[in-house]
């Protein structure tokens, strides 16, 4: 895993800054890049309309809880990476996890589908409840967990096979017995990729563009019909147009799925998410002067961006972090 140094992250935050001040609103769904073409702006506006509508509806219904994290901490080889994370994640919402590099966003995300189990020396403390079941309980089977809680990675990672086989892999290993062609088409349609690839599903997935590959990974994830989709900086390797497409896609998917997205792009968190959790690193918490990630604030996204309760959150979202 490549870790960005802190300074680089700060650079990214500063670069994002003019855009936000220009619009005068932290929550505006503006085009992600200055100089983006009209099409981009048009679709951004459309997406914003649907988002607003969704949020209106959301406020009325008190959504049920999917994940309940209780004082979660993760150690790698005995030393703490992140500590004291308590949050409850609601059904059919997009939850964004933001914060500087190395503050443990990925680590927390990986707790939610037990992919931390695959790392030698990683250990999860505290309690992660999924629909009131302890995810780390003795009878819980990690493979079953991952089938219900899908994951999309930072770098698109399609299998070096055909588009069709990429989508069909999950259902196949899951023992899917129904009509595979239909499932593949449905998944690709829901991932907004069908029209671009329907002519040749036998084509290699490696030949697709980065944005298409990422949507293929989302389609692949949807094909398993999970309950939750975890996304770890899904747009960080993509251009602005592809990023926008993925964001629109998340917006459509959230009516059926619960989405948790890690991003270090604050505009993205502000644009797509319903709730935002802000993480940071607390320096010198233990005897070895070790840096530990903590959850500073977790609230409705507009609150976090316009009226944060913690000064550290405010410093970060206004670009004065550090």
């Amino acid at each position: 895993m490549i870790e960005r140094p802190m300074s680089e992250n700060r650079g990214a935050v500063v670069m994002d800054e003019p855009e936000r001040t220009r619009e005068g609103s932290s929550d505006a769904g503006v085009a992600p890049e200055a100089g983006a073409d009209a099409v981009l702006q048009e679709s951004a506006k459309l997406a914003e309309v649907t988002r607003e509508r969704r949020r209106q509806v959301k406020k009325d219904a008190d959504a049920e809880t999917v994940f309940e994290l209780k004082d979660v901490a993760v150690t790698y080889g005995g030393s703490y990476a992140v500590q004291g994370v308590s949050m409850s994640i609601r059904k059919n919402e997009i939850t964004a996890l933001i914060g500087p590099s190395g503050c443990g966003k990925t680590t927390v995300l990986r707790c939610l589908n037990r992919t931390n189990d695959l790392i030698q020396g990683a250990k999860v403390h505290g309690q992660v409840l999924y629909h009131d079941i302890d995810l780390y309980g003795p009878k819980v089977e990690p493979v079953e967990v991952r089938r219900r809680i899908g994951m999309v990675f930072q770098k698109p990672n399609p299998f070096p096979k055909s588009i069709y086989d990429n989508v069909a892999f999950g259902p196949r290993v899951g023992g899917f017995k129904g009509n595979m062609d239909e499932l593949v088409e449905r998944s690709l349609r829901r991932a907004a990729l069908w029209d671009e690839v329907k002519r040749d599903l036998k084509a290699s997935a490696m030949a697709l563009s980065g944005g298409q590959q990422q949507r293929l990974c989302i389609a692949r994830c949807i094909a398993v019909e999970p309950d939750v989709i975890l996304m770890d900086e899904p747009c960080s390797a993509l251009d602005p147009v592809s990023t926008l497409r993925i964001e629109e896609l998340m917006d459509e998917l959230v009516s059926e799925y619960t989405i948790i997205i890690v991003t270090h792009n604050m505009q993205q968190a502000a644009r797509v998410s319903d709730r935002t959790g802000f993480f940071t690193v607390a320096e010198g918490q233990d005897e070895k002067d070790h840096r530990i990630g903590i959850l500073v604030e977790y609230d409705l996204t507009p609150t976090v961006f316009t009226n944060p309760s913690d000064p550290r959150t405010e410093a970060y979202v206004t670009g004065r972090f550090g």
Binding site: G150, F153, N157, F159, F169, V173
Partner: protein, 304 residues
């Protein structure tokens, strides 16, 4: 910004020079080094070309279909290498069936399932590295002691030779396969696991298929090296005058390098011609296998 401006304003900016500031000695040394490296490549090439040309010139009179379709004979003009070619192919077949599955299996275990920190796995790792460097004659001794004689007592048959060559190429196959498996990014396995695949499903359906071009390339190169080996076969007691093709695993046999060795050591110059021709045939088989390996690599290897 400010640093930029001060630099522009400064009147003391040193003039830009792109000419070399290094002395004649450096340049001479560079030149000498380059010469030495080029020289070594040329020497290697020259030896190879000389070998081929010499064999071609000497073996030309016997380089025809009769050589390939005839069996060994006491008369050099009638002698051929059919039984030797078949013996070699039988051994290759045994190596493919025995060494490749075991080697790939071991590589999968070591790359994907073994606890790399455990002392016994590190021990196995070191052993395999060392086994790849053990001279082939030692494998011959092993085959003689444990397969041809000893407990199994198979005798000097084609199965013994095939198994001995399997041991010989096994470490190389394991190392090549491990490298090929390692070249598949871990994100592929992560992706499979995140879709609810078990580790075995992820490895067998995604990682292994992605590594197959590399495994095939490495394995073919290992086998092509093995078919030129004479020493272990001599030790095992491969017969040098066999006028029939192997009919089964416990058939007596001969092989190309054995046949060549035998002919070269005969006083009759006619057999030297036959040996040269057989060398050309052996070289052709090896080069063909290497060509297939390179083609496989260029055609199927995935760039990530």
């Amino acid at each position: 910004m400010s640093t930029l401006r001060t630099q522009k304003d400064a009147s003391t900016t040193p003039p830009v020079s792109l000419t070399s500031r290094r002395g004649w000695w450096h340049r001479t040394r560079d030149g000498a080094f380059r010469g030495a490296v080029t020289g070594s490549v040329l020497v290697g090439l020259a030896v190879l070309v000389a070998l081929i040309v010499q064999s071609l010139v000497e073996g030309w009179p016997k380089l025809n279909w009769n050589l390939i379709t005839s069996f060994p004979s006491s008369f050099p003009e009638k002698a051929g290498i059919q039984s030797a070619i078949f013996g070699t192919f039988w051994m290759v077949g045994i190596v493919l069936v025995v060494a490749i599955p075991i080697g790939v299996g071991a590589a999968i275990y070591m790359e994907q399932f073994a606890d790399t920190e455990a002392w016994y796995n590190r021990f196995i790792d070191v052993i395999i590295q060392n086994l790849a460097a053990v001279p082939s004659i030692v494998y011959g001794i092993l085959g003689l002691a444990f397969l041809a004689r000893g407990f199994l007592n198979l005798g000097p048959v084609v199965l013994t030779a095939g198994l001995t060559l399997s041991f010989l190429v096994l470490p190389v196959v394991i190392i090549a396969s491990r490298e090929a498996l390692r070249a598949v990014p871990s994100s592929i396995l992560d992706g499979a696991l995140a879709l609810g695949a078990t580790r075995w499903q992820g490895v067998s359906r995604q990682v292994l298929p992605a590594a197959i071009p590399g495994i095939a390339t490495g394995s073919i190169l290992a086998v092509s090296r093995a078919i030129g080996e004479a020493a272990p076969l001599l030790l095992l007691g491969a017969l040098q005058f066999i006028t029939f093709n192997p009919t089964g695993l416990n058939s007596s046999f001969t092989a190309l390098p054995i046949q060549i060795f035998n002919w070269v050591s005969r006083p009759n110059v006619g057999f030297h011609v036959a040996a040269a021709a057989a060398i050309i045939v052996l070289l052709c088989i090896t080069l063909l296998m290497n060509a297939v390996a390179i083609w496989l690599r260029n055609r199927f290897q995935q760039t990530w």
